[in-house]
């Protein structure tokens, strides 16, 4: 049984995630559980048949990470991002990245006001709570790096002045792996800013049928976005709550061993950075919390390993799942 099998076997968490293993509750019910369930339900309504992807998106959000969708066009990347943005409440902004997009178009710029004879600052799309950067690999490296300062430090500096961003600032970037002409692939150092990279993939036939059935009688307009379930303040509290999920020493040691394994794997040219390791722990904490647990299991670490590692391990695009499976199977799970 390969690791990828075992990971996928656990599959998506059941909707009622307070009960995991045989109904034995793993922890006290969290006060935010209702919000989480609502978010989960809203996203699952938007993206039918992709519960595992939704679970990862939620984990990334709760871990204060940024998300990179790397998939073919038309699979629902933008739809999911918009739905998420609306569900968490707050402001939503979208940037369609093209080669002529300038950094100021993203971060904002100082405009000289003829009337007041002063420069005044015009906020760019980064001054939002959820930013969707579509086809990010089509922006020039200069624009990309402007965005990455915002992602890493949640602030932008324009003309020597630093502006703080929203505390729950969350970037969902998409990129298309097949159209490489006129694209600027994201460098490894910048990819590291993302907490995870997800692929949505094609829905299964049953979900496609349901999707078609739901579309009959539609007016051609996109479905209305879900109602806001959270607001930035509550999201911030939820993220803080998740950051407090304890991680025991054996699990942390397991993470360290896994990180060492990524650095020692011969097919990986650039192993996991300490920043990546921190992100991995945060996402695992979020996943544990999503599962209704108040402590992190090695299962959580394994379950999020794919998306977390795929964004930062430099190597062949196609071989990533196999390499990650090899890394996971080379490290012993701490038991007894």
């Amino acid at each position: 049984m390969s690791v990828s099998d075992t990971v996928s076997h656990r599959g998506p968490a059941p909707l009622a995630s307070t009960k995991t293993l045989g109904g034995a509750g793993h922890g006290p019910v969290c006060e935010h559980q209702e919000s989480i369930d609502g978010l989960r339900a809203a996203l699952n309504r938007t993206l039918i048949g992709k519960e595992s992807t939704v679970e990862m998106v939620l984990a990334c959000l709760l871990a204060r990470g940024h998300l990179l969708f790397d998939d073919l066009p038309g699979l629902g990347k933008t739809t999911l991002a918009k739905a998420l943005a609306h569900a968490v409440g707050g402001r939503f902004a979208r940037v369609q990245c093209t080669p002529d997009l300038l950094p100021g178009d993203v971060t904002g710029f100082n405009l000289f006001n003829q009337r007041t004879r002063e420069f005044e600052f015009r906020e760019g799309p980064v001054f939002s709570d959820v930013l969707l950067a579509d086809e990010i690999n089509r922006a020039t490296p200069r624009t990309q790096s402007a965005l990455f300062e915002a992602m890493a430090e949640r602030q932008v500096t324009i003309d020597g002045r630093t502006y703080g961003l929203s505390g729950t600032f969350f970037v969902i970037a998409t990129q298309n792996p097949v159209e490489s002409h006129g694209a600027y692939p994201l460098p490894e150092a910048q990819l590291d800013r993302f907490a995870m990279k997800l692929r949505i993939g094609y829905p299964d036939p049953r979900s496609e049928l349901a999707m078609l059935a739901a579309n009959v009688g539609g007016n051609g307009q996109p479905a209305p976005p879900p109602a806001a379930i959270l607001d930035p303040r509550r999201l911030d509290a939820l993220q803080q709550h998740v950051a407090n999920v304890p991680v025991s020493l054996p699990v942390q040691q397991y993470l360290v061993d896994l990180a060492a394994a990524t650095r020692g794997h011969r097919a990986v040219t650039l192993g996991l950075s300490p920043r990546g390791l921190l992100a991995w722990q945060r996402v695992a904490q979020a996943r544990a919390h999503l599962q209704g647990r108040d402590f992190v299991l090695p299962d959580d670490v394994q379950a999020v390993a794919g998306p977390v590692l795929e964004v930062r391990l430099a190597g062949e695009f196609e071989a990533a799942p196999r390499i990650i499976a090899e890394i996971l199977s080379s490290v012993k799970v701490p038991v007894f």
């Binding site: 049984m1 990971v7 076997h9 293993l21 045989g22 109904g23 034995a24 304890p246 060492a260 799970v333």
Partner: protein, 839 residues
């Protein structure tokens, strides 16, 4: 303090470089250690017959460290963990030779203490080299290897050892040179200096002080010089003796080490050569069995004989007194006192024998028996050159590999199968007879190249002609025929004209026996008890060897060996008394056997000599010590007119060993086992049934044992509610999965592995398993709440499930956990869902 600190810093600086170099070079250091170990193995095996033991020990010492080093190469984490107790591992591996040496000693294959100590050093060096990560470790390993190799070179003398030593020297010099150049070239040589003298000199001073204290305590002020020599036991000469010591004086075992040349080891104690101390077989028999009662001198009227006859009688008398024992009495008094151990004797051995033991070494034969006393023709030794007697075969000189062998030219019989080699060293026995195993065919004594030196005594024993005794420390090399008695069982071997079973044997029946010495049978004409019993025991058997075996079997099973039993002095027929009493010493067994076989028409004689006991065999040298209390009496039966076959009637003594083919050996063993099984059929049936049940229920039994053990442990720990209880239950599940053939791969988590079988388990078992998993995960991975400490009650309630009260015990949960068979079925069902997606 500041200086120390700076030294530490400078020493701690280059660990990365040290690690790299250690990893790169430690193969070389390990190779040197292995070479040194191989040299030691060669040196140790030089003086041993069983070289494979030393080779196996060498492999056992060298392979595990090598495997460990290979294993650690790929596992940096394990390597880091091991580093903290690497010294302990080295020490443990260094101590391994001690139990091995003790075990070998108890098996009689021990070796000198210093060899054990050097193997400890060898082991420590091997492990040090295997675990070497930096220069210091590597150099320590090399140092140990160098010391081991030096010792091996001093201890051994063989060519392979010197070749290995040469290789080692080259390797050692090369590694020293390489180490020197590395130091010169390494930039850190100039950057960091380390003052290590205080530490090392401190260790040296402490060691020297400890040695001095121990020496003073052990040896006292006057014995310091002795103690400082090393506390190594010697083989004697200093009040103590270790039989495996390599040095020392005064030990009989060491004295007879010269296998080819008696003078290879010189005389060490003068009293050994006092002639008066050398007993004869006659003396030893009297010591062991007691003196024969002296018949009262009766003077009766007599008529003088003519001169010729008088002379003949005197001749005979003179001859009898010439030899050691002229007669052997079956009627004896109890020994006045048991033979006292000869404490001042360097070795109690009379002879040393090398060959297949147990062995019957005959010295004298007796063929006439009057019911009380066996007599034989004694004292006349015919040399081969002079022998014109037809009954003794001719002896001629042959040269083999440049050495003279005196070969007995004898007829071949169907029972013979090849030859075996024997070596007999005469230590303390005064006789000119050769203590020979059955069917000797050739004798070699160094520089003895005259065939007339070897001859036959009147009773058909080999002896050195013209000598009163064989000189001490003479080494006799013998060849004897191997034999197998199977042909005798299938034929009437008693020769042409021998009496048949139908004809009652006549007294003094010697017809058809050719030139064999007189074969006096029962002393009277009337039907004796021996004759009656003999015919009774052999009723229905064809005449021949089967009769002999029947009588032997009966004597060996129905009669008791009792070394102290004596027949009354006034008895006329010792055999009859013995047969009625049912117990007696070996000479009465032999007398009875000989008499009974004669009653059946066989030709027999009494053989006296030594029984070489296997328990006195020194496996290292292959020699068996034959001592005074090994004097033994047995019977020889004539077959085919010219040959005598030794048989053993006394229980407790092994019959002379037959040479068997593999098939015969297996058949004989199988027959013996079959008889034992048949005799205890009921017991074996019950045993077999129990074994069958145990085999069928092996999983259940093993499970029961493991589960009860874990339950016991869990119960001891807080009534089955603590961390240990939960984890023990989890361990039980892991063990069961392993037994079921579905061991959890180490990289798969508990809940993934066991969670997948949940759907196919019965609800109860599945529920128990999931609850156990939840509890185990919490105990394993949840961070304890500091305020609640180790026994947290709140979390425990959560861990064990919210649906039941806090006091739920894992022991109750265990009863519902799936067993091995259930697990196997569940794993099989979930392992191949693709094969039958419908199910």
């Amino acid at each position: 303090m500041a200086t120390n600190h700076s030294h530490r810093l400078s020493a701690a600086k280059p660990p990365a470089a040290g690690v790299d170099r250690g990893l790169a070079d430690h193969g070389g250091a390990f190779a040197l250690s292995v070479l040194a170990a191989a040299m030691l193995a060669v040196a140790r095996s030089e003086s041993s017959d069983r070289r494979w033991i030393w080779f196996a020990l060498f492999l056992a010492a060298a392979v595990p460290p090598w495997l460990l080093s290979q294993w650690l190469k790929r596992r940096l984490a394990a390597r880091r963990r091991l580093e903290s107790f690497a010294a302990l591992v080295v020490a443990a591996w260094g101590l391994i030779p001690v139990p091995i040496a003790l075990a070998l000693r108890s098996a009689g294959m021990g070796e000198a203490v210093e060899l054990t100590m050097i193997s400890m050093l060898q082991n420590a060096g091997l492990m040090t080299a295997a675990l070497a990560r930096n220069r210091a470790w590597m150099q320590t390993g090399q140092l140990a290897a160098g010391f081991t190799a030096t010792f091996a070179l001093m201890a051994g003398v063989s060519m392979p050892l010197f070749l290995l030593g040469g290789c080692f020297g080259l390797g050692f010099i090369w590694s020293l040179m390489a180490g020197y150049w590395e130091r010169v070239r390494a930039p850190r040589a100039a950057l960091a200096t380390e003052r290590c003298l205080p530490a090392r000199s401190g260790v040296l001073i402490a060691t020297a002080a400890a040695i001095t204290v121990v020496a003073l305590l052990a040896g006292g002020a006057g014995g310091v010089a002795v103690s400082l020599r090393g506390f190594l036991p010697t083989s004697g000469g200093e009040g103590g003796a270790d039989e495996f010591a390599r040095a020392g004086v005064g030990d009989g075992d060491a004295l007879v080490e010269a296998q080819d040349d008696a003078k290879g080891v010189g005389p060490v104690e003068s009293e050994l050569f006092l002639e008066s101390d050398m007993p004869t077989l006659y003396d030893m028999a009297n010591d062991l069995y007691g003196d024969p009662p002296k018949p009262k001198v009766k003077s009766e009227r007599a008529i003088a004989l003519d001169a010729a006859k008088v002379k003949l009688t005197h001749d005979r008398m003179a001859q009898n007194q010439d030899g050691g024992g002229r007669e052997f009495s079956a009627v004896r008094r109890a020994p006045r006192q048991p033979p006292k151990p000869q404490s001042d004797q360097p070795s109690p051995a009379m002879l040393f024998v090398k060959g297949a033991v147990p062995a019957h070494l005959a010295l004298a034969r007796f063929d006439r028996f009057d019911g009380r006393v066996w007599t034989g023709t004694e004292g006349v030794t015919e040399s081969a050159a002079m022998s014109h007697s037809k009954r003794n075969p001719v002896i001629r000189l042959e040269t083999e590999h440049g050495k003279p062998w005196l070969r007995i030219v004898d007829s071949i019989h169907g029972i013979f199968r090849g030859e075996s080699r024997w070596t007999v060293k005469v230590i303390n026995l005064r006789t000119n007879r050769v203590a020979a195993p059955p069917h000797p065919v050739a004798l070699h004594v160094d520089r003895l190249d005259q065939p007339d030196f070897l001859g036959w005594t009147e009773d058909g024993s080999l002896a050195l002609a013209g000598r009163s005794h064989i000189p001490q420390l003479t080494v006799l090399h013998l060849r004897a025929r191997r034999f197998n008695l199977q042909p005798l069982r299938d034929q009437n071997f008693r020769g042409p004209g021998g009496p048949s079973a139908a004809t009652p044997p006549e007294p003094n029946a010697t017809a058809g026996l050719g030139d064999f010495p007189g074969n006096s049978a029962s002393p009277s004409n009337r039907e004796s008890l021996a004759g009656r019993l003999a015919r009774e025991w052999t009723a229905g058997l064809p005449p021949g060897w089967r009769q002999v075996e029947a009588v032997l079997e009966r004597l060996r099973t129905s009669y008791q060996f009792d070394a102290t039993a004596r027949v009354p002095e006034d008895t006329a027929d010792a055999v009859e008394h013995f047969l009625r009493a049912g117990r007696g010493p070996d000479y009465l067994f032999a007398s009875a056997c000989a008499t009974m076989l004669r009653e059946l028409g066989h030709t027999t004689r009494l053989a006296t000599g030594f029984y070489a006991r296997p328990e006195r065999c020194n496996p290292q040298s292959g020699f068996t010590a034959v001592q005074a209390d090994d004097v033994h009496v047995w019977v020889e039966v004539a077959i085919g007119g010219r040959h005598w076959v030794a048989i053993e009637p006394t229980p407790g003594y092994e019959p002379p060993g037959e040479t068997l083919t593999l098939w015969e050996w297996a058949a004989r063993k199988a027959g013996r086992i079959g008889r034992v099984v048949a005799a205890n059929a009921g017991t074996f049936a019950i045993l077999a049934a129990l074994l069958a049940v145990a085999f069928v229920a092996r999983n259940w039994l093993a499970d029961a044992v493991v589960a009860s053990l874990l339950v016991l442990l869990a119960t001891l720990a807080d009534g089955g509610r603590s961390r240990r209880a939960v984890l023990n239950a989890m361990r039980l599940m892991e063990w069961r999965a392993r037994r079921a053939g579905f061991r959890r791969p180490p990289h798969v988590t508990l809940s993934v592995w066991y969670g997948r079988i949940r759907p196919v388990l019965a609800p109860d078992a599945g529920d128990a398993l999931m609850r156990l998993l939840a509890a185990a995960e919490r105990w394993l991975y949840a961070v304890p709440e500091p305020s609640l400490g180790r026994n947290w009650t709140g979390s425990q309630a959560v861990a064990l499930g919210n649906t039941e009260p806090t006091a739920i015990s894992v022991i109750h949960l265990w009863r519902r956990l799936p067993g091995i068979a259930t697990l196997r079925r569940a794993f099989r069902e979930t392992a191949a869902p693709a094969a039958n997606p419908g199910s």
